[in-house]
């Protein structure tokens, strides 16, 4: 048997130390007692976690390994000394070595009382849930008048006292043996099967399906449709993965999401119970390996990428294609960032393909109108391209026969739309438009990016050319399935297959910057609190914008008259501008930070895009809360958002059964579920639909009749809608409530065409690159729908290539 004895004071002179030393030698033939001292234990402070310090780890390990613990406490002010209390606080916070541990309390004091009051306090403390020791009841050993109790050799003088100590101690030896039996893990076996349970979420119950074999929890599926996005997303991935990894219910809850964390853990516990096993046994099991801090980690790579969204994955894939080693560091448990949240169409002009599609009403008018823009309204850098565009339009109109109009496009048209679409003035009158050389790269390389993605395994649907909201033209390349996830899945597979490493759960806290200003790696914090260092001569920032950081949005905003404190966002909660701050730490210049984009057609409750019926804008019919149309539905995102905000924010997308068929985000089961939940409205008549959304039936009926007549004539005299497709005619009818939410931040780190991050001085920052939403300058005042995917895959690819090429040059020179 092995015991640990804790001297309950840090004083240099202590009778309690003497008492333990006496016990150690007196009982040496029966047990081995190792004495631990409190000297050097830092004062407990929850703002300064020192659980990993050697001295506290030593206590933790020794106590964990011991068969029992003897605590010898003095009495200070009727209670235990602060030094003893401090170690108990350290060992009941993030570490719990006392849990179930047999403990014997003894004490020595000058006073005849012999620490009686301190011992009672200590027993209460050891009973606290964080400590949860098994304290031996009874057999209270108090050594009063301790200053007279020992002889010069350190032996207790009184035989009667020694006899009593022996009887207490032998009892403790038996107690420890029995109490430790309670700590032997019980065997667990499950009745194999699939168990349906409900976890408590923030917005009501979350249905969960837990699959169990006879020995293991195999799978946990949580239906999160009813839960708002936010930190809870992390709960739904991390907690189930830790439960399965460790086959344990001993899982740390996530701060800021304790209700949902506990909901998931309790839900699995319920399933365990239904499978005939005792969940308490699983709660006593050790934590999953990934949740335990195994010490700091250090890595080396040729390139380190910050952020595992589309831009970061593209950069990593491009590094791997050149045979170099890459590590991606991602702050969330799941990869994909905002890219998994997109609808999936990626803009790239591919005229050979597009000309196979017939033009739709209004499109010819759109290009004619753009080509008629007076040249004095075109900025000098773009003028040459604008003239080429005018020729292209003239040629197209000349060569197209009446009734055989096909879909026109060209890289230059894409460039002109990106430029015009992004040219905006802010509230202070500051005018911004896309930086020519960056916009040129974006639009000229767009198709090459599509082809590159195809090589990496992304399958596009060439049967359809789509236009996401605010794209202004049909040039969207849409993956065959899974929307934005298709890109992430293909790139992840490629990156992992080629030996790329992805470190999730690791927010990067700072850049490693050498004395000469060169960036040579990153430092972050791992899931268990360990420091993660990646040394690499090239760092690519691909961490996204700051759409989920309301404070930062408000700080820089110069475009919107007001950004509400509780504004919703379509973004992942990870998108908080971290990369912009990292860039600034290296002196980076920022560009266009005041311009952010609202997605007009977001879910009013969650900011998400994928609820309700999301159809192509030619089929949008937007009505305000009075049931009236209020905007050209084919307009840019900011035009739609401003119009919506001016009409009270909340508005409805009206659809009929045919328009419903063109929705790219949903299926009948999802639709039925949302109707049931009341987040989507359905009725057999327009009048009934109007009543459901509390608007005047006659107004809605009139509005729709007018709209249908515009579709027939291919012209909208009220708002000038540019393109039409279907009428609202076939029951059942639908109304999807929508409201603008923050969608994209156009501003960011200033980069050049090679993705170098530029210093405030105008020089490049050696070793630092940026791609995707973290960078600014391209989309300027308003980003076209579908251009974001083009941006991340084009500049992500370039970043990976440049980072590798420049190292080769560096190592040669």
């Amino acid at each position: 048997m092995k015991f640990v004895g804790i001297v309950g004071t840090n004083a240099s002179k202590s009778y309690n130390r003497k008492l333990l030393e006496f016990m150690k030698s007196h009982f040496s033939e029966k047990v081995d007692i190792e004495i631990l001292e409190l000297k050097g234990v830092p004062m407990f402070n929850e703002s300064d976690d020192q659980s990993q310090s050697p001295i506290i780890q030593n206590f933790n390990t020794k106590i964990t390994e011991a068969d029992g613990v003897i605590i010898a406490t003095p009495e200070h002010n009727h209670s235990v000394p602060s030094a003893l209390k401090s170690i108990l606080e350290w060992l009941s916070w993030n570490l719990h070595p006392f849990d179930g541990k047999p403990v014997m309390v003894v004490g020595a004091a000058y006073d005849v009382q012999g620490s009686s009051r301190a011992q009672l306090h200590l027993r209460q403390i050891l009973d606290a849930p964080g400590v949860n020791a098994s304290v031996m009841p009874g057999s209270e050993f108090l050594l009063g008048r301790a200053n007279e109790a020992f002889d010069e050799a350190g032996k207790i003088k009184s035989d009667r006292t020694v006899d009593f100590l022996e009887s207490c101690f032998y009892r403790f030896m038996r107690f420890a043996k029995i109490a430790n039996l309670l700590n032997v893990p019980e065997d667990v076996s499950f009745e194999p099967g699939t168990y349906e349970v409900k976890a408590v979420g923030h917005n009501g119950d979350l249905p969960m399906i837990v699959e169990m074999s006879s020995t293991r929890i195999e799978k946990i599926d949580i239906d999160t449709a009813g839960e708002s996005q936010g930190i809870a997303d992390v709960v739904f991935t991390r907690i189930p993965s830790q439960i399965i990894e460790g086959q344990t219910l001993n899982v740390d809850i996530l701060s800021g999401a304790s209700v949902t964390s506990n909901g998931v853990i309790d839900g699995v516990a319920k399933a365990v119970k239904m499978a005939g096993a005792n969940p308490d046994v699983l709660k006593k099991r050790p934590k999953a390996q990934s949740a335990i801090n195994h010490g700091d980690e250090e890595y080396t790579a040729d390139v380190v990428v910050v952020g595992a969204g589309g831009a970061g994955l593209a950069a990593a894939a491009s590094v791997l294609q050149q045979g170099k080693k890459v590590i991606i560091v991602e702050k969330f448990p799941a990869i994909g960032g905002n890219t998994v949240r997109t609808g999936g169409p990626m803009n790239a002009a591919d005229p050979e393909w597009q000309r196979k599609f017939a033009a739709i009403p209004g499109e010819g008018h759109t290009i004619e109108e753009l080509a008629a823009t007076p040249e004095e309204q075109v900025d000098a850098e773009y003028l040459a391209d604008f003239r080429i565009f005018k020729h292209q339009v003239a040629d197209y109109l000349r060569d197209t026969k009446e009734g055989k109009e096909f879909l026109f496009d060209s890289a230059i048209f894409h460039r002109m739309q990106t430029y015009f679409g992004g040219k905006r003035n802010d509230l202070q009158g500051y005018s911004i438009y896309g930086q020519y050389d960056l916009v040129k790269v974006l639009t000229d390389q767009a198709l090459a990016s599509v082809k590159w993605l195809e090589e990496l395994g992304v399958e596009f649907d060439y049967n359809e050319v789509t236009m996401p909201v605010g794209a202004l033209w049909r040039r969207g390349h849409k993956p065959v399935k899974h929307e934005g996830y298709a890109f992430v899945a293909a790139l992840e597979q490629f990156v992992r297959a080629q030996g790329g490493q992805i470190l999730t759960d690791t927010p990067v806290k700072r850049l490693i910057i050498e004395a000469d200003g060169r960036v040579s790696g990153v430092m972050g914090t791992g899931v268990a609190g360990q420091t993660v260092t990646v040394h690499a001569p090239a760092v690519v920032l691909a961490s996204g914008g700051f759409g989920a950081n309301t404070q930062m949005l408000k700080q820089y905003n110069t475009y919107w008259s007001e950004i509400d404190d509780d504004i919703k966002t379509s973004n992942s909660p990870a998108i908080t501008g971290d990369g912009i701050l990292l860039g600034q730490s290296a002196g980076a210049e920022l560009v266009g930070m005041g311009f952010s984009q609202m997605m007009p057609v977001s879910d009013p409750q969650t900011g998400a895009l994928f609820s309700g019926l999301q159809v192509p804008p030619q089929n949008f019919v937007m009505v305000n809360q009075q049931g009236k149309r209020f905007v050209n539905e084919y307009g840019s995102r900011d035009q739609l958002s401003i119009a919506a905000i001016n009409n009270g924010g909340l508005f409805y997308l009206i659809a009929d059964d045919k328009i419903k068929e063109t929705a790219y985000n949903t299926n009948q089961a999802k639709i039925d579920k949302q109707v049931e939940r009341g987040t989507l409205f359905r009725a057999d008549t327009l009048e009934d639909l109007a009543q459901q959304i509390h608007i005047d039936p006659t107004t809605l009926v009139d509005t729709i009749a007018m709209y249908n007549s515009y579709v027939d004539q291919g012209h909208d005299p009220e708002f000038g809608k540019n393109a039409f497709d279907l009428k609202v005619a076939v029951a059942p009818f639908y109304a999807t409530p929508r409201k603008p939410a923050v969608h994209h931040t156009m501003g960011g780190l200033k980069i050049d065409t090679q993705t170098h991050v530029l210093h405030e001085s105008g020089q490049t920052i050696p070793g630092l690159y940026a791609a995707g939403e973290v960078a600014g300058g391209i989309h300027a005042g308003n980003r076209l729908g579908g251009n974001s995917l083009t941006d991340i895959f084009t500049f992500g690819r370039i970043a990976g290539r440049t980072a590798v090429e420049e190292q080769a040059v560096l190592s040669k020179s």
Binding site: T9, N10, A11, S12, K13, K39, P42, M43, F44, N45, E46, S47, H76, N77, H78, S79, V80, P81, S82, A83, K85, S86, L88, E89, S92, A109, Y110, D111, V112, R117, H121, Q124, I125, D127, A128, G130, V131, R145, N147
Partner: protein
């Protein structure tokens, strides 16, 4: 009336600190409450020379100059935090300014119980011969669910708790005055307490 509000923790974020800040603001017309922190105090280690570090001396002087002390304590493991206990040990080990000093105990906790057990222990601790504070009897102020208790401007949002605190604070002000009467003539006992030591106590105070 001049009072000290002692934050019973060394944590950077604490609803006990918020509670004291609220009291300082809310009772500013009745008393001047100076908030004092224990987070910079070194850990008590029973130095042989009985010399208090300067931070402890400053705290003791602050207490000595005040008419009364409010201690707001969290609860860690069913008792007061080690940091607060350490402050008490320094005070009792040096000039013992809490002797006969009126003390009001309050406490805030994230959970439901509002530090009930820690407050009980603190009363017993303040009764120790080297501390001998005059703790307001029969009133305890327990603030549960403290994370949701304060709004952005630091005001206590639970109306019944505000009322309770107002009554307790009124009692405490009275108690401070009554206590001045109570301890007026007991110099002997005070001096005895100041000189108290466990080493000598067991000999009936005859040997130091």
């Amino acid at each position: 009336m001049k009072l000290i509000g002692m934050v019973g923790t060394n944590s950077n974020t604490s609803t006990n600190r918020k509670l004291l800040q609220f009291m300082r603001k809310h009772f500013s017309s009745q008393a001047e409450i100076e908030i004092c922190e224990i987070k910079h105090l070194p850990a008590f280690d029973e130095p042989e020379d009985r010399q208090a570090p300067t931070e402890v001396q400053a705290l003791c002087e602050q207490i000595a100059a005040a008419d009364g002390v409010i201690i707001s304590t969290p609860e860690y493991d069913h008792t007061i935090p080690a940091a607060l206990k350490s402050a008490m040990e320094w005070i009792s080990y040096t000039t013992r300014p809490l002797i006969n000093k009126p003390v009001l105990i309050v406490g805030a906790s994230h959970g439901l119980l509002g530090t009930s057990r820690a407050q009980m222990h603190l009363r017993q601790i303040l009764d120790a011969p080297e501390l001998k504070a005059r703790v307001l009897p029969s009133s305890e102020f327990l603030l549960g669910h403290s994370l949701a208790a304060f709004d952005e401007s630091g005001d206590l949002v639970y109306a019944n708790k505000v009322q309770e605190l107002e009554e307790i604070f009124e009692e405490f002000q009275l108690f401070v005055k009554i206590n001045q009467q109570l301890v007026k003539d007991n110099h002997f006992k005070t001096e005895q307490s100041k000189a108290f030591s466990w080493e000598s106590a067991i000999w009936g105070g005859e040997r130091a």
